[in-house]
Symmetry: D2
Subunit: 371 residues, 4 copies
């Protein structure tokens, strides 16, 4: 495959993360053509120039449509706020570009549906940035489950917690507005849902409770404003094959910084994982003498592919940004028509459908089946 020309829209954290990935993917993996970093778009023109220089892009623009019109660009990384995803992704796909869009697809389900429809029509690769599934540890967990290492899975718990909304005295800002979505559910729960999808497939039925730890927040300008969405959500779920699951998401959980804690129980053993210690996982196998059974803490290493492409020695540790490099390699694989491990717009839409069903189950106070 020829070298891909890259366009990047957005230069916030995720923009930088994509830029790091595009810069590193060839050096890490070796077995591809080095991507050419062509065009960077950022609403602020001066910033666009600055970031293009920092990130190593040849051209800069304040108008993302210019980037999409650039014939040298083959793939567009979209890392702007969620409300812009649909318009940009659709334009890029219609211009014949592959798209690598940060999750979620769009706040409105109908927009997400349009994105998928366009991707199908365009016949281009359309991928969502759900990078937690790219962790070599997570890949290995999937392989273990497939190999029957813990037997038939029957129960799952997943918690996603951070604490950036935990301070009741923090000022009201847009994350607490209704227009920003349901709150923890779409801001957070999509990540654990991507893991559940990756490991077990889609959710079939849900009932949800959502809560506002703080009913109102102070305003910078004085006075207070009511919080309009829910910082915490708890969901009972059923997956296929009779698997029961519990999902807990809380962005007001003091002390949790990047926790995505997964517990998987099967007929022959169990697996536990926490994103805050992303370079290890725990495996319990009900084998041998009772006196020596226990959870094994397994450190990430070259036996967990593609850790070996980064470091040849075990126990040295990948970082969060490295997951984006792996995702980038998988995207290139998809563009090359090879089997790849990515979240397509099809998969992403189904994840977002689950989220909307969860919200509905809360408002209607009943179980919702997801078709």
């Amino acid at each position: 495959m020829k070298s891909l020309g890259i366009g990047l829209i957005g230069t916030g954290y995720m923009g930088k993360c994509h830029a790091l990935a595009w810069n590193a993917v060839k050096t890490v993996f070796g077995d591809i053509e080095r991507p050419r970093l062509i065009h960077l778009a950022e609403a602020n023109g001066d910033l666009a120039e600055k970031r293009a220089s920092e990130f190593g892009f040849e051209k800069a623009t304040a108008d993302w449509r210019t980037l999409i019109a650039d014939s040298e660009v083959d793939v567009v990384s979209i890392t702007t706020p969620n409300q812009f995803h649909a318009e940009m992704a659709i334009a890029a796909l219609e211009a014949g570009k592959h798209v690598w869009c940060e999750k979620p697809m769009a706040p409105a389900y109908s927009d997400a549906e349009r994105m998928l429809k366009t991707a199908r029509a365009a016949g281009k690769v359309a991928v969502l940035g759900y990078n937690y599934i790219q962790n070599p540890v997570m890949r290995h967990i999937r392989a273990l489950i497939e190999q029957g290492a813990i037997g038939a899975v029957n129960h799952i718990r997943v918690e996603m917690d951070e604490d950036f909304m935990a301070d009741p005295n923090a000022f009201f800002y847009w994350k607490s507005e209704l227009s920003a979505g349901y709150g923890a559910l779409d801001d957070f729960a999509v990540h654990p849902l991507s893991l559940l999808w990756y490991l077990f497939g889609h959710v079939e039925a849900v009932i949800t409770d959502m809560v506002k730890p703080y009913g109102s927040r102070p305003l910078k300008e004085g006075g207070r404003r009511d919080v309009e969405n829910y910082d915490a959500a708890n969901v009972l779920m059923r997956l296929g094959g009779g698997i029961s699951a519990v999902l807990m998401a809380n962005r007001a959980a003091w002390g949790r910084k990047g926790r995505i804690a997964l517990q998987i129980f099967g007929s022959k053993g169990s697996i536990a994982y926490d994103q805050e210690r992303m370079n290890e996982f725990e495996l319990y196998q009900a084998e041998g003498r009772a006196s020596e059974q226990g959870f094994r803490k397994i450190l990430a290493g070259p036996a967990h592919l593609p850790y070996d492409r980064f470091i040849p020695a075990p126990g040295h540790g990948l970082g969060f940004n490295d997951l984006k490099i792996i995702e980038c390699r998988e995207l290139i694989r998809a563009i090359s028509g090879e089997p790849s491990s990515i979240v397509t717009f099809e998969d992403g839409l189904r994840i977002e459908k689950s989220v909307h069903a969860m919200a509905q189950s809360f408002h209607e106070r009943r179980w919702i089946e997801i078709e």
Copy 2:
């Protein structure tokens, strides 16, 4: 207060645990009269004699009614299977004895109600054996919450997991019969519910999912039999003051041996605890510089009363059986008319009411409010 005469019914594990407590309570606490171990009842007469000798009781009987009729007996420890609790507790109370009955009160709610009614009529102390609340660490957690150390609590998670039902090839036995109860819910969930009650008061609304990891089990005599109750249960709950909670109970969770994992989130911090490491807990307080904030692992020590009565040095560790000794001291306190920290029949009935509401919410697939 004069020395109490003790009767003990049942000599299984909990019988032994009560016996150890009655033997040790004076030596540990010093500030009470040494109880006199008078009478032990056990259906098997020979075993009754043997255990009376081992446990240090003066008399033995195969007929528990003889024990209850014994005028030297002031307090009756009831440690028999659950289905006998009601009859024995009622008889003992009617005979003017104080009662220390292992949890739960009774499989049928109506029996539990009769137990409470009798206790009220008798005017005697009637206490349930919910010893996890006696852990000095748990007492300190309660004190911290009361002191506002983590602000206003808004969210709680509690997991109770063991793995004695995790093996799908284990033979069917009575624990899987409908007559044994709902399964994880009453076998297990009452323990975390006692902790929630102890820390926050009673549950107000619930919705539950229950699952059978294994639909049937092999029979010793060949063939298979359908499992009649649920080894796992997951519950969304609301407590008073708008606190949301999630309860997960699973007796088929490979690798978990005595896990009761509690996470408590408040407006100023968080607390985490796991019964498998009962001599420590974690405290996060959102104070000081961000660069030094973290969960503090606090080891049990003499500052966590009444640890000091057992060991004067921190970090040396109490055991599960020591909790029973503390509970025994609290029972004596209650009998003496002093303030005490126990689960009375009133409290216990409310816990069991919650359990029945949970089962109902599962069968009716809807939220149930608990009056």
Copy 3:
């Protein structure tokens, strides 16, 4: 064997711990005669009466010689300060009693030698209270090593740390006097040495460094006094079979409360243990695929004898005081002439010899071989 008559000298923490063990040993183990708690000695006569009542002893005395002269007493528990051990143990042995003496034997090696000599002459059981070796987890570690679970052991590290001397502003007290011994070395290091002895036999060569974190301490009455011994000691050691070991002992280690951390490396695996979490240990076995190798955290349970005598379910946890009950059972075994797992005066003397050699190696700044 007939019921043993028990005498107890000393009613501080270790006195209480012995009393708890003598009270509980029959109930826990069942297969012995219930000991009779005959006589308690405590220098303060009023306190002696009080404690005798609390601990369940029939008689009380302010004169320990009266206790030793009591013909009803078969075994004497000695729990007084170290400087009294020799005189009391020798008197008890000469009076034909068995002796259960808290560690260490005596500050002066010559006194310890006299104790052993007397024990040999008396033909009585003479046991030291080194209860950490009684932990079912530690017993199982020994069994695993003997079974070759980690192959041939080649390297060991052991750390013993507490923080009761960590505060530089704490007043000078007798523990910092030369007459109290070397400091960390004899106050602390004997415990890890008992574990090393239990698992691997005796130390053959040592070189030691000792340090005073604080050269002087404030006096209650004003002014300061020089610290005369060493709160921390570090030792390089060789055991038999070419095993290298490092021993670190520090009683001024902030945050450590009861840490005895053991790491054992062998040709096929490793074992790790920490007394602060005495109900678990870690086992690494170099077997199977690299992708699943890791340290297994194994929770104590009934498979680790005699945990089963206390609790039938795994993961529920023994306490520090329970170890004394196990030690008590082993002592009774020794008195009955059965094989037992105890630290005899022979073993204890060798441990103390090691300690003196360590101190010598520090003062002479050279390796010392221990004959």
Copy 4:
């Protein structure tokens, strides 16, 4: 400062790691000129071409002297086996290049001395690749110590363990030859020594024990060969200010993959760190009520600079390779004449002097003072 022209010698793991750093440093930090990746040298000419393409270098050569002669090259990364460091570094410095050389300087102390002498004469920046000191967590630990967060440090323990030499059945290879050095001491101990140097300055006195867990190893071609150096080393040390330290290094420690465990004890608290969990550390401060004192587990975050340049959210985690990017930034800082945090040839020589003194103290069985 103008853009630096980069030359890289060696394309093994460390070569790749340098290449990743040179590719990423501008994108991560922004505030520098993007380095130009000019020339790559690798003994195998075909591989040189391949890697130059992968790593993004313009030119490739099989002759490292050609690279050093390249006038476009300003900085030379040296990542070849240790025995080539001296010749290459000296040539590069003499050619007027800055040098970034992987640790250690050279197997022979005299070669290391020549390297330093040349660096001084050349007046160029000469830096060693000791990247563990670049961890934001380690930087913060240093800041905490400087700020007095744990008072005056009095005792340190550091363990460095991996298990690549742990299998006794692994074939003999060059790492076990005397020509490869002392074994664990220079292969491993230099890393913890760099941390000790970074935090506390240089070692003043040492006594060392070294051991061979396996006296011989099988040869691929049949038969066995004696192991010529030591897979494990244990060192008692004194640092300045009366600080005592223990260093343990073991490359045959089953189960340890990348452990560098550091324990630091001070007069007001303690700090613990383990490289296997490089995104967290533990801090104990003896403040407040005893009932809430404990080790705080602090997750790396943007408050620990320059974590923020990689990720704006805490708890997400850096990887091992990210440390090299930070080191690269520090190197550029040094070249720009700004204050920087690096290990110069001066510092490195002192570290290697300590290593030789340790070996001497083992062979002479005595304490060695290091001038």
